[in-house]
Symmetry: C2
Subunit: 575 residues, 2 copies
């Protein structure tokens, strides 16, 4: 037993960072710790006057690294046969695109006296949307360019992405822009920091981050050309020189843990560190992604990930198709729904609104009730909705509360609920929202298959997959496919650890690490034929609405929609 | 001053009956009383197993007559110059179609020992929908018949109406059907009772009730023929002989108050009693309806009433067009929205759901909070919505929570909310619901004007008009028309009193009674030009959805709808 070895996965989320220590031969999780960021609101620096604004102070990243890893190590230390010298490799994933302006040594400008109070010098969190105008300009220019640089990212450049953010910085804060020697993705900066060399000229850039969010592609020799960037704006003259040409997959070793961070973390100097990537991509690896498996990471939003040995055509509306972004050597496909759990949280806040707003004078001394109502809302809605049959509510919703990421790639779409009557109950609306997200997921699957990539199994992970059997059964019934669930509840950190094991030399390929370290839970949500039948009819109606409101080329009389819903409702109630 | 004269109006609503005593030269209301029915749930006999079921025990009508009138007289007695002998006439309105099966003397079968516990022998309240299958058969047969008897009632015979209910009775309870010598509308039975002769052979039938709800029309010599009824079902053989040929407008005197009821009410024997009619029609009279005036009676639903000297064509989708049904000598037009206040009440129950459902264990001893939350909900939503600008929410709703009565005449339509985002707040949804009902009202106005009936003014009455300035301003802004408000808060009872004054001989025509006894409040809600502009754009989007989901002949790509809403939202927020 004394030959056990371990890997460390570090997973930077939106509000916290998690460290996970895993036995590389079994995947057993021997130590974990979550550190919540301490700055801003739940780690996010907001601007009260601009809802699009979301930054993070990189101090949280640095402090969180030490806090999470040392605590995870402490926990692991009680496991038999664990010792820190048995950790052979480290992987890191982060949110993205989350670029950080850095100086010539790769130190975040946020750490300088000059810019320490200027959020434009901080990390631009993935969900910062301040750059929407710049994104539109980049999209427009890319479409006009001899090479359409958006062709591997769904035809649209998003305000969430690297170059739009850099461009917006150039527009709104030239002082910071000009002071920056480079812009580094959060997932690139962390491994570099661990290895003690953040020089932006030599830092290893993630294929995943660059391919999905910066239009990097080998087809055109890397990033979009300086000519292109200058055509977007003369303010971007010289930007190429601040950036890079090469990118790396995460089976590449950045280097060994430097003395300083070895000391801070209590780990051996020289421990191998892998090239970083985005959380969803490592999450897919941790969940066991392989050709034919669709991995759904289901939380506030979803990521729907696949890998394919090769692609015969670009799949319309799939945001990212990047060689090696998930599993090295295969094309990584990234799709997703921009709001899923967020929609349920929105509805939770609707139904508990009365508690906070209608009884102020009566309950001013009972502030605990607000939290109680919040905690009770979704469980109660779920419990009551569980006794409803498909079609019974007569409702149909479009799941576009935060736009539509895949397959319409359009932030300017909004949510809809149809079929409301004077008898409609909250649990019926809740169920319709769950169903709508399932329909959205089915659209993604069908689009992928249309282009010849077969979906042979669906593996789910994330909070909703772990905690909501009601939702999972609806997903199975709506898609007509069994829903499997990843064994680990922390697949992102596990995927990081798998790459740590690869660069640590234990495995030649990440597929081997997946084989040893991953797995599924016993539970499988199996489609119920009688429900599948009803949902096929409902999905056909969803498609009508989806195409009519979501595409420019579809006109159909929608008169039958409400009629069919009422017909399904009557049939459901008479069964 | 001693030559003052008064009239008595009696208004039977869904849950109560109101008596009102009015000075006929000024309209001053000197005595009023509301008696709540004591049987069933708020006066309605329900069937737990059938949501369509709604009956009333005619005992409530009889007891309520005495209770309300004697109390109104008592209040009036403290007014200067009032005495009961100065009451010159009585008018009565009721809900409808509310038919009552009666014996050969016109006594309700519900009063017999045999049927006193059988709700099929009771009054079939207007909102009883148990007859929907029969209504479909009647509609179908009418369309096939040489004369389309539905041509003056919107092309559809409703489950709420007289003949459908009689037919359903024949189907479900032949004993009651066969025992009935006739079927009498509630509004016909009350005046007959007051005059001491309820013989169904001689009872004066209301033009309003018969024309709007029983397909009576002079064009085909009265009710649909026995041949037609027999073609609907052989069970209806012989029905014509139980019914009637002639109908009467409410300027016709039924007779004088009989000795028995004079004694019960404390009024002079022989006081003139007018032919009855439906509440909304008398309400329109009480609100001052005249050619060019649209009267909106705004409560749980709306009735939109007009009169016109003549009509050049049937107005498509306007449910009723009957000569003399509102003002004798003019065509009465009846349109309406099947849910307005009911939609707001539904939403009130959504936002207060959390209070009743999320905190049971915490607040089991505070049952008062449920009522408190109920009372606070709409005022708070209104207050918060008042600071929103048109278009700011990005929302658009279709007001079909209870189907669409005018102009689509389709119960199989349902409500919809579009434009939802993660930031959508309850007060925004509430405002969108109010706006949707205003758009629905505008559709009615535009349809009427399309057919050459000009709407020169809008006079509103009813609970919403009295109590909700926020809603009234939106109606003015959405329609681009000033919203006037009837002076009386009880226009139905006032309209009844006006007809009482006519049959009492004080006025030759009801128009003269309106002139003296009616009037407007000082408040007028005037359209704000900047809001009208935004609402014109929103209404155009509403029309797109209305026609796409509500009609069979309209197909349009709806892609621009969400985009335009977001554009209006951005513009509204940047102003």
């Amino acid at each position: 037993m004394s030959d056990k070895r371990f890997a460390l996965g570090i997973d930077y989320g939106t509000n916290s960072v998690r460290a996970l220590i895993v036995d590389i031969s079994t995947g057993e999780e021997v130590g974990t710790f979550v550190h919540n960021y301490i700055r801003g609101k739940d780690g996010i620096i907001l601007d009260d006057t601009d809802a699009n604004f979301a930054r993070q102070d990189p101090h949280d990243y640095v402090e969180g690294l030490q806090a999470s890893v040392t605590s995870a190590v402490r926990e692991a230390s009680s496991a038999p046969d664990f010792s820190v010298d048995k950790i052979i490799g480290i992987g890191v994933d982060t949110t993205g695109s989350t670029p950080i302006p850095v100086d010539a040594k790769g130190v975040p400008l946020a750490f300088s006296d000059e810019f320490k109070d200027n959020p434009n010098a901080f990390a631009w969190l993935w969900k910062d949307h301040t750059s929407h105008q710049e994104a539109e300009i980049i999209t427009q220019k890319a479409h006009e360019w001899t090479t359409d640089y958006t062709k591997y990212s769904g035809g649209i450049y998003s305000s969430e992405w690297f170059l739009a953010k850099v461009f917006h910085l150039a527009n709104v804060d030239p002082a910071v822009y000009n002071a920056a020697a480079s812009f580094v993705e959060h997932c690139d900066w962390m491994p570099a920091l661990l290895c003690g060399n953040t020089n932006p000229k030599t830092i290893l850039r993630s294929r995943c981050a660059s391919g999905h969010k910066a239009m990097w592609n080998a087809e055109w020799g890397g990033l979009p050309s300086q000519e292109f960037l200058s055509s977007v704006s003369p303010k971007l003259d010289g930007l190429s020189a601040k950036l890079y040409t090469d990118t790396y997959t995460s089976d590449t070793k950045v280097g060994g843990l430097c003395a300083e961070w070895a000391a801070k973390l209590g780990l051996p100097e020289g421990t191998a560190v892998a090239v970083g990537a985005f959380d969803a991509h490592f999450g897919a690896v941790g969940a066991g992604i392989k050709p034919g498996s669709l991995v759904k990471i289901m939380g506030t939003s979803t990521c729907d990930m696949m890998v394919a040995p090769e692609l015969h055509a670009q799949i319309k509306g799939i945001c990212g198709q990047v060689d090696g972004s998930i599993v090295p050597g295969m094309i990584g496909l990234e799709a997703g729904q921009s709001a899923v759990g967020d929609i349920f949280a929105w509805y939770r806040d609707q139904v508990r609104w009365g508690v906070d707003n209608l009884l102020q004078s009566d309950l001013s001394d009972r502030t605990d009730l607000s939290e109680r109502a919040k905690a009770n809302a979704l469980p109660l809605l779920t419990e009551r909705a569980s006794s409803l049959k498909p079609g019974q509510s007569g409702l149909l919703a479009l799941d576009w509360w935060n736009g539509n990421r895949t397959v319409l790639v359009d932030v300017n779409l909004t949510g809809m609920i149809l079929g409301l009557t004077l008898g409609t109950k909250p649990e019926e609306i809740f169920m319709a929202l769950v169903e709508a997200t399932a329909y959205g997921g089915r659209v993604i699957m069908e689009r992928i298959e249309e282009y010849g990539v077969e979906v042979n199994e669906v593996v789910t992970c994330g909070g909703l997959a772990e905690k909501n059997p009601f939702l999972m059964q609806i997903y199975a019934d709506v898609t007509g496919r069994p829903m499997k669930v990843s064994r680990s509840a922390q697949t992102c950190a596990l995927g990081s650890a798998m790459f740590g094991a690869v660069v640590g030399g234990a495995y030649a390929k990440v597929e081997e690490a997946q084989e040893k370290m991953g797995g599924l839970k016993d539970v499988v949500y199996t489609p119920k034929p009688e429900n599948v039948k009803v949902y096929n009819r409902l999905f056909a109606l969803y498609r009508k609405l989806h195409d009519s409101f979501g595409t420019k080329d579809y006109a159909e009389n929608l008169y039958p929609v409400m009629k069919e819903l009422l017909d399904l409702k009557r049939k459901s109630l008479s069964n």
